[in-house]
């Protein structure tokens, strides 16, 4: 059943980062779906009870970062991976963080995030609409998304400055 879905990985299956994320999700036994891009990712958001979307910032941030807002409406937390050397993308990153996106710069952080999600999964259950598809208003209470405490993973101001070279 679609509502078991916990993670959406967005990106090309040939991308090393995506492969690592899929391996991690397998290790933590997370129900995961792979979407090639944000466009197909949007189609999957309504099929679950919320969870985490993981992908590279370049992909998740397409179309003015609108994906972040839609994902949040469906109770998903976006986790953007950013390679070092983000010159020119500072504004996008700040905007993403303002939208509650978790920005990570190391795969280790993704590992921790998914481990946390796995440990906490099942804590929170959202309502499911009659058509089996969740609506934006069915979002979980703020601060908690599908049993995942994103606050622990939000980047601090100091970390952000270090990342952006400020």
């Amino acid at each position: 059943m679609g509502s078991q879905l916990q993670m959406i990985a967005v990106g090309s299956s040939s991308d090393e980062f995506v492969r690592v994320v899929l391996n991690l999700s397998g290790r933590y036994d997370l129900d995961t779906v792979l979407c090639e891009d944000v466009y197909s990712g949007v189609c999957k958001l309504g099929e679950a009870l919320g969870g985490v979307v993981v992908g590279r910032q370049e992909e998740l941030g397409r179309e003015d970062g609108r994906f972040f807002d839609i994902a949040r409406m469906y109770g998903f937390t976006c986790c953007c991976f950013v390679d070092k050397g983000v010159a020119g993308r500072q504004r996008e990153l700040v905007k993403a963080m303002e939208r509650g996106v978790v920005v990570v710069t190391e795969l280790r952080e993704i590992d921790e995030l998914l481990m946390d999600l796995a440990n906490r999964s099942g804590v929170h259950k959202s309502r499911v609409r009659g058509d089996g598809r969740r609506g934006p208003t069915d979002r979980p209470a703020s601060g908690r998304t599908s049993g995942f405490s994103k606050d622990e993973f939000l980047m601090t101001k100091a970390e952000m400055d270090a990342l952006l070279g400020a």
């Binding site: 891009d37 466009y39 197909s40 949007v42 309504g46 397409r62 003015d64 839609i70």
Partner: protein, 354 residues
Amino acid sequence: MGVDENEERSVRYGGKILLTGDLGKAFVDAGDIDRDSCEINANILDAIDAASKGGFAAVGVVIPPVSGKLRSALKAFRETCEARIILLAQMPQEPQAMELIASSAADEYLICPIRFSALVSRVSGSDPDAAVRSEAAVDRGASVVGLDAATQEKIRQLERLATEDDLTGLKNRKYIWEFARQVIGRAGKVGGRITLLVFDVDNLKHYNDLYGHLAGDEILRQAAVLIRRCCRTHDAVGRIGGDEFAAVFWDDPRRDRALDESERRSASADHPTEAICIAKRFVGELEKAELDLLGPDGKGVLAISGGLASYPRDGSTIGELFEQADRALLEAKRSGKSRIYLVGKPRNDIADID
């Protein structure tokens, strides 16, 4: 408007129309859009999300000026709903729209601007001219449907002013440039052959000085008629300067599907023979042409010098192709005029190629 009336409308349309993109570019008057019969989501991700909830008879997607991921977005619409996908394209985007339809990413396209009622007619099937655009794409004079005759004529006039050369009726420089840019972009993704012919009429100044500018204009018109007659319907032909013309020979997407991958690769490795044949035929037609305005001297005097450059061997952008074709044209002129040279060939006069 009452609820029942809205429902009746919805039933008549078989669902609402979902619109996405810059609607200001798509419709003659965005104020005409009937919000009861459609849902608008400017951002395409919101539109995909809305489409996934169902209830739409059609999705109208305005092709953006820069549309790197448009194909992915259309694929998402396909996966998430069964609505017809209608592309709303500007005239220079027609090759792109044709290609998307040829690859089944969309169902049909309309050349904008149109009235909202035209889109509704198309979706509801009440449009008597509702031939699917993928078929109509062959004749490249796409019409604006669903408008009263006077408005249609005004729009056609505006289109002509924006894209055509008033002296010859061929396309103008802006159109040719944009058209070539689009087909090169397409060829970069899916392969395909493109050849650019740039030519000018030999000794036009001489005829202008001797017989007057009306005669010069007639010569240009005559050359335009002949080149258009020699080209295929899907090739774009234009006057790009005073006596300078250009033709873009490219692979029709429907024919393209028939080419297998190896054929496509080998074909793109060299100057396509079709383009050379067309250029030769054109030269032959010029030799036979009679220019009445020049009196008894008017037979067989019409001549051109030209250069042919092909993508990708001679350039990977429209700018590079024009530069190379222009260079070949200059060489042809320096070598005595009345000939077409190929870029980068040891024996580069097309008359020497069997």
